[in-house]
């Protein structure tokens, strides 16, 4: 279906496209799930809307309520769009070292931004949001890191879509942040096809940034379930950028930087399958497009320079 009653109804049902040039062989194929084709351009539209609808169902959210959320950007942008259409206020707690575009988009949608310090990354944003929740008991914190509706959005949406489009799927690779995508998709796929391998790609930041995205510094999202994972990769900025550019260069896909990290892991998985002489269909997530990262210089100049510019930023 391509006609929808409103933007919110256009969520999900994203295309899965093959990568004929980057796939290592005819037997080992890579597939990209284009989650940038969601209402605000990222995979986060799925959990954001699911969390809002769950809170509406249990009565926590009512017309005029204010939503509070720690976010490094995409979830905030998704919530801001939905909040605007549904008549809620939104306060986002965001690390100050995220890209300028994310801040501008949030402001355009009318969200209020509270900045948390760069050092400490998303951990700090979560801590600050929890403080704000205590001092503003009438605000509703949806809390993507621990809200089951986040993983459910992928269990009921992303996972079934993947298997329907690619019944021969052998591997799923996604980014590890809130862990919602991997846990939700992983549970669904393991139930349907127990042999499917669920692989996490987590960003490895410079020493300045310790984000909870690499489950560092004692913070493990409440949603995290290590039993769902069959493998985990840690990918630095240089490799993430290199793969992001390869994806554009070879397949024409203009993706955000976190997608490069995910592709790096997907290609490692694919090469292993080739080495073992196995057949594989490796699907991975393109979480968003590159627009929001143009100001970081990720797409121009030498890789070394671009990686250096990203040092100290939350790039995924």
């Amino acid at each position: 279906m391509t006609r929808y009653e409103s933007l919110l109804d256009a969520l999900g049902g994203t295309p899965l496209v093959g990568l004929p040039r980057l796939s290592p062989s005819r037997d080992v194929r890579l597939w990209a799930k284009l989650e940038d084709r969601n209402p605000t351009g990222s995979i986060k539209d799925r959990p954001a809307l699911a969390m809002i609808e769950a809170a509406e169902r249990d009565g926590r959210l009512q017309r005029g309520s204010t939503i509070l959320e720690p976010t490094s950007g995409n979830t905030g942008i998704s919530l801001a769009m939905a909040a605007k259409l549904k008549g809620y206020g939104l306060v986002c707690v965001m690390p100050e070292n995220t890209s300028a575009e994310r801040k501008q988009l949030l402001q355009a949608y009318g969200a209020r931004i509270v900045y948390s310090p760069a050092a400490g990354g998303s951990n700090e944003a979560v801590r600050r949001a929890k403080e704000l929740a205590e001092s503003n008991p009438d605000w509703v914190m949806l809390y993507q890191y621990g809200n089951p509706a986040n993983a459910d959005a992928h269990y009921y949406g992303t996972g079934p879509e993947l298997l329907k489009d690619l019944p021969t799927l052998t591997h799923f690779v996604g980014g590890l942040g809130t862990t919602g995508t991997l846990v939700g998709v992983g549970r669904y796929l393991h139930e349907q096809k127990p042999d499917v391998q669920i692989i996490a790609a987590e960003p490895r930041y410079g020493e300045l940034v310790y984000g909870l995205r690499n489950l560092d510094e004692g913070f493990v999202p409440e949603l995290y379930d290590p039993d769902v994972l069959n493998g985990r990769f840690s990918v630095g900025a240089y490799d993430a950028l290199r793969r992001t550019r390869e994806l554009l260069e070879n397949e024409g896909i203009f993706a955000g930087i976190s997608t490069g990290a995910v592709l790096h892991a997907a290609m490692a998985v694919a090469e292993k399958a080739v080495a073992k002489g196995e057949q594989a269909d490796v699907a991975f997530v393109v979480a968003d497009a590159g627009w929001k990262y143009l100001s970081t210089g990720a797409y121009s100049g030498s890789l070394d320079e671009a990686a250096e510019r990203l040092d100290g930023q939350l790039w995924a």
Partner: protein, 92 residues
């Protein structure tokens, strides 16, 4: 069997301040033993009860060894081994 091992800041006191060291071995454990022979003290921080310490993550070519055999994970010539602190989340 030479591999490059990258050492996190908090463990560099055990490598004379070096960010990365060369080592050899066919498994992660052999690589750690080899570094230990040259720079005493590192193994204690990484290995506990013959298992990888809960708060340490080790990656071979970016892949978490906890999913690939732990200390027995294979290492090949030219591989990159990365050691990172993980206060939590590393433990399965």
């Amino acid at each position: 069997m030479a591999v490059n091992v990258s050492i996190p800041t908090i463990l560099r006191t055990h490598t004379g301040g070096e960010k990365s060291v060369e080592a050899s071995g066919k498994t992660v454990l052999e690589v750690i033993d080899d570094i230990e022979a040259k720079h005493g003290g590192l193994k204690d921080r990484l290995v506990k009860d013959e298992k990888l310490h809960r708060f340490v993550n080790v990656y071979v070519n970016d892949e978490d060894v906890r999913f690939a055999g732990g200390l027995d994970a294979e290492v090949k010539d030219g591989d990159t081994v990365t050691i990172l602190p993980a206060v939590a989340g590393g433990a399965r």
